[in-house]
Structure formats: C-alpha cells, structure tokens
Symmetry: C2
Subunit: 398 residues, 2 copies
C-alpha cells in the first residue's frame, strides 16, 4: 500500500516510536504522541462491560478534559489482567508524565492486541525512555504503523480548517481490522488538532462525530474491550477557542466529521480478510433508530456477507435479515437495490439477479433498502466475510 | 454417514417421497407424511417478520389443532414470493387434501431452500400425485433425506413411551445446517407419535420442549423465514388422551424433550462447514434470561468460533463476548472452563492455555462460564466457524 502523501500535520505535536518486543521482537510496537503544551482532550470508549486496564485509566483522566501525551502499544491489549493490569497501565502513564514534568493524569495510555496476558513491563519501561528521547524524530504515520495488528495498511487522514486568517489542521490515525462493532469507538483512534476548542464543546463535537462514523461500522459484530477514540486540541494556531456557538464551529465540525468518517471507512476497507467494502443504506424508515437497526441487521448477517463475497445477488438473505431485525416494516412495500439496480420491487423479485451478479464483482457495493414507511435513513459500512477472515482469526495467537 | 438403525416408527403413519426437480433434477426433493386418521397437531414457527408463504398457511391451519398430512419440498423456500407464493402453497395443500378426501386445512405445507423464486408448480403438481400413489412405500428416514439441503446426513431419532400397558413411539426428523438461530424453531422439524394427546396439552408440551432445544441452538445467528416444527399425534395406540395433568404427561414430556434435544444437537453437529460441536454453558447467573443471553453472546461470536476451530484457547474472546452481552456481571468473579479445565479464575488467566489447546482438539467442546452471581444456568449449542462455512454460503446458489 502506498502512503497518503498529502497528510497535513497540526502544529506543536511530536511523535516517537520504539521497539518493546511486546508480543515478539522485530517491529516498532510502542508509540508516543506528545503535545508541546497542555491540550484540551475529549474521548469516547468501548461500552463493553469488560474494559481493558488502559481504557479505565483513560476514562479517569478524561474527566479533567486535559492532556499532554498519549502512549500506545500493540501486541497486547492489557485486558482481563486484573489488578496487575491497572498497576502496569498506571505506571506507564506516570513514567511518561514524570519525564515530561507534568501531572500523571495528563498522560493517556492505550493498548491493543491479545487479551489476558500481562504486559511485559521489563521491556516496556526501557522503551518508554527511548520514546521520550526520540520525540520529534518520527511522523504521525510512523505512529499509525506502530499500532497496527492485523491491519494491512496504516490509516491516516487530515483536513485543513480556515479559522479567520489562520489555518488549522485536524489529523487522525486509527487501527482496526477485527472486533469492530456498533455502539463504540473503533479499536484505537487518535485525532490531533492545533485549533483551540473549548473542552465541553470538544467532547460534544467528538460524540456527534463518532456516532455517525465509528458507531456505524461493523466487521464481525464483536465489540472489543479496548476501543478508544482520543481527540487532542492544543490551540497552537492561537485562535480564540471554539465553543458550541462560535462562528467557526460548523467548519470545525465538518472537518472533524470528514476525518472520522474517512478513518471509519478505511477500517472497514481493511476488515480482516475483506475483499469488498459494503455500504448498507436503509431509507424510508419510521425513525433513525429503525433505519440504523435494520442496516446493522443486514450488515452483520454472515449469510449476506458471504453471498456478496461469492458475487451472489441473494437478496432473500437481505429480506430475511430485515425480518429478524426487530424493525416493523411491510415486506410487500420493500425495495432493494444493488448499486442502483433494483432487484426487489414491493418484496418480490425484479428478475435482475443476473445483472446484479455482475454488479457484485465491483470492490465497493452499495445495498439500498427502501422500506417506504417513513422519511428516515441510516448508512452502515461493513465488508464481506471470507475464508481469510477465518484463517486470520483461527491462527491469531499462533 | 450410517443411518440410525434403531429408529422406531409410530403406528398409523405412511411416508412417500418423489422427484419434482424443484431446484434441479436427480434427487427425491418432495415428501409426504400422512396419518391414517385425523391427528391432533401442534406447531411452532419462525418469529421472523418475513414469513414464507407455507409458514403462513401452516399458522392458519394450526389454529384448528388438527391435521392429516404434511407435504414438504426442498430446493425452494417459497419465501418472498408475494401473492403467487401464497397461491402456490395453498394449491399444494388443497391438492393433497382433495386426494385424501379431507378438508383443505388438514394438509400442512412446508418448503426449504432458495428464497425469492416462485415454486415450479408445473413440476410439483404431478409429483404430488406420485406422492399420494406411493404413500406407504417409503420410510420416515426417506423423508428425512428428501428434505436435506446443505445437510450432510439425515437427522432422525425416536423414543418409546410406556402408557400403562401400551407402548407408544415419538419419532422425529429435521433438517438444519444454516440459518439456525434463537427464538425460533429449526428450519424444518416433523415429530409424529401414535400416543393420543389432547390438543391444548400437545401445543403446551411442544412450546416447552422447543424452548430448551431448537431455541437454544445457533449456527450463524441468522434467523430463517421458513422455520417450522410440526407435531402430529394420531392416538393409534388407543390410550386415553394425555392432558396437562395426566399421570403419563411427565413420561410423554420427557420423551418428547429427548427427541427435540437430540434433533437440535444433530442440527448443530451438522452446522455448515462445522468440525466441532460446542456447548456454551453459563451458570451462576442472576436469572435464566441472563444465563441464556450470555451463552448466546459467546455462542454467536465469530471470534470465539474461529478460535475454537483453530484449537486456540483464546478465552479473552469469551470474556469480551460476555462483556457486550448486556448481562450484568463482575469480570473479577468470572471463571471459565474448557471441558472441565479451569482457564480463567476470577477474571484472570490460570496459565492453563497450553493444556486447554490440547483439549480443543476434541470434536465436542464444552465451554463453562461461572458468573458467580446467582443460581441460574442455561446451555446453548453451536459449532465452530470454518472456511467451509464461507465456501458453502458464498456458492450456495451457483
């Protein structure tokens, strides 16, 4: 995969990566993002009852709405590790904060990888010193690479925002691949900006943005223990902080939404074993919740996903998934389209299966379902389900 | 696969199979079960909003609690076929009833196979005459074979029940393989008995039995449009009809439960592409609903199912699934066992992963989760998720 060449970087952030041999040696698997000044922070976290130790630490720190650094490792999720896990995550945050000369609560710690094994602290602690030492010698995409697990390419994007005569940047990276599921962030996503945003507004803007991006994607319906989205705004361009009602709120929001949607799209595109990106667009629903629920039922159906993998326009499986979604609808009013070709009209076949089979050979498929029972819609992104998904997940720890 | 040799047959039932080339020629794909006398009938049906035409006909007929014949085809589900589908299903029932000289509503019609294509009535109608002509020339297992789609072996079982000095038989067949999911029957299951059971009691006994058998299995989390369980009791042994409070109710119930559980187990064992049967047993739950919900979350997790396929004792994925099940529980109180070997104690690793990996090589795996927060339990049967599942479902219609 080629690297996105046009990624802009916001002012006042330093990056660093190092090798801690968390799972095995041979790659940079720990990374640091540090702002030159204390920043406002917002975050959203997994809603799984089983939360990894670093998630619990982040949820505690985010209450202050302030932060200076994010340290993140791949190879080990530090989840289901009990008291030891909390102690380890806390130590990592303290270690970084101590070096930076800031309060411990200003460092955020994130982990991704295998569940249930304690972190190898004897290798992580020295790596933290190396991270600090090299801060500024790496770029944001190096961090994106260091946090990859089964990802096949680093995920990064950015947007410029004009704030009066100043120009700010919002840049984001994330990792995904498996265990991506509604009602949560993605696995790990870090967004940084040099635009000043008031704390409460920052959190509201992030919540809204995540709702229609990371919370509208699904790969295997499994919800991770570690999912975290962190947003840091260090205000280095010197604008008057954006509030809920500023003149520039709309411009900031629009750019932030583009960043989160693009990252969410990249996560699905790189779904484990995926060969196709699928958008399930449900319209004509009685309300947005119904539209979303129906879209998720279709997007999470193993039978729909394998049919699309096999270029089979088996729309019966879509009707079937709608039928068990719990959403009230009339079968005989429902239309289904593949990339604009109507295959189902009023609940029955349009005899376009052959044409649709051709359409399914493309890399991006849009399934549109029109329930004709209201004016609300929702779109969910997913990918096909392939033998490679099985292989990746059957052999993940070996 | 060898046929079960010891299946007993209840008195007064005739069987017949024929070739209607529903999907393609070359196999017996339509079958008839007919009782020599009118029988009491009970039934449970899919809860999918999208119900196939034959399901709607059966749901109408079952209100009388009476029946004489069941006709069933494989190769085409007659689902999402609109008014035409209802007309076709109705015609099949009428045709059989006319031949038998009984009311149309006494014939039940079932279909399984591809969704969205009208039945080939020009081939089915003549096959119905052949079915009637040959009634009695075939056995129950021939019917079990005729209703197979992606099943790899026919599913049949029976139980004898002593009712005073008389001995009755409950025998059942079913088909399954894919689209097996909670809150419904299985794809198609037909149970016949020569024991007389009062109509209302028969329905209650069936509901109870299905609740802990077919409604506690899952293969891919997809819920079919056609699932039907029909139970016919023709009373040919001449016992005094069993009611809710008879002395023999318990014996009948116990035998019926054995039949439904065994058929449900066979369905999971023959799950599409499955190499292993997995029982997820959740105990120590605050109530039975919680136990069931937690067990289903684990049993439906693609990540758990692929790990077990790969002989990977990745219990973190089980904790993770419990965490998003929506069931309240304490991570630090939870124990997990694989076939009796404790791998998780109070939410953290017992360092038995290597031993557990050996255990996972067996063909039947029992995952026990003890939540230690109550005295209720539930067991859900599922199977592993393999490359073959993908292959079967990507190529199903080709």
């Amino acid at each position: 995969m080629t690297e996105p060449a046009d990624t802009k970087s916001p002012k006042g952030f330093l990056f660093s990566v190092a090798e801690a041999a968390v799972k095995k040696p041979g790659r940079k698997d720990i990374a640091l993002i540090v702002s030159e000044v204390d920043a406002n922070m917002a975050g959203t976290f997994t809603t799984n009852t089983v939360k990894a130790a670093p998630v619990r630490i982040c949820m505690l720190n985010i209450k202050s709405g302030r932060g200076r650094a994010i340290v993140v490792n791949s190879g080990n999720a530090n989840a289901c590790t009990g008291t030891q896990g909390l102690k380890d995550a806390g130590e990592i945050a303290s270690h970084i904060s101590h070096h930076l000369g800031v309060k411990s609560s200003l460092s955020y710690v994130c982990s991704t990888g295998v569940i249930g094994t304690p972190l190898p602290m004897s290798r992580i602690t020295p790596a933290l010193d190396i991270l600090i030492e090299n801060a500024g010698n790496y770029s944001f995409i190096d961090v994106a690479k260091a946090i990859m697990t089964t990802d096949t390419f680093p995920k990064i994007t950015s947007q410029e925002v004009k704030i009066g005569k100043k120009t700010g940047v919002i840049a984001g990276i994330c990792k995904g691949a498996g265990m991506i599921q509604p009602n949560m962030a993605t696995m790990l996503c870090f967004i940084i900006t040099d635009i000043a945003v008031e704390r409460k507004a920052l959190q509201t803007l992030l919540n809204d943005s995540v709702k229609r991006s990371f919370n509208r994607i699904t790969i295997d319906g499994d919800m991770s223990t570690n999912d975290t989205v962190l947003l840091m705004a260090n205000g280095m361009i010197g604008n008057k902080p954006i509030t809920a009602k500023s003149g520039y709120t709309k411009a900031f929001k629009s750019a932030l939404d583009k960043v989160t949607y693009e990252l969410a799209r990249l996560v699905v595109k790189d779904g484990e074993g995926a060969t196709k990106l699928i958008e399930v667009f449900v319209k004509g629903a009685g309300n947005e919740t119904h539209a979303e629920k129906a879209a998720f039922a279709v997007a999470n159906s193993n039978l729909v996903k394998t049919a699309i993998y096999g270029n089979d326009a088996n729309w019966g499986r879509i009707m079937c998934a709608l039928g068990y979604s719990g959403v009230p609808f009339r079968e005989d009013k429902t239309d289904i389209f593949f990339n604009g070709t109507k295959v189902v009209s009023g609940g029955i076949s349009n005899n376009k299966d052959k044409e649709a089979t051709g359409i399914l050979k493309s890399k991006e498929i849009k399934i549109t379902v029109d329930l004709h029972s209201g004016k609300y819609s929702a779109s969910v992104l997913t990918c096909d389900l392939t033998e490679d998904y099985i292989r990746i997940n059957a052999e993940y720890r070996t």
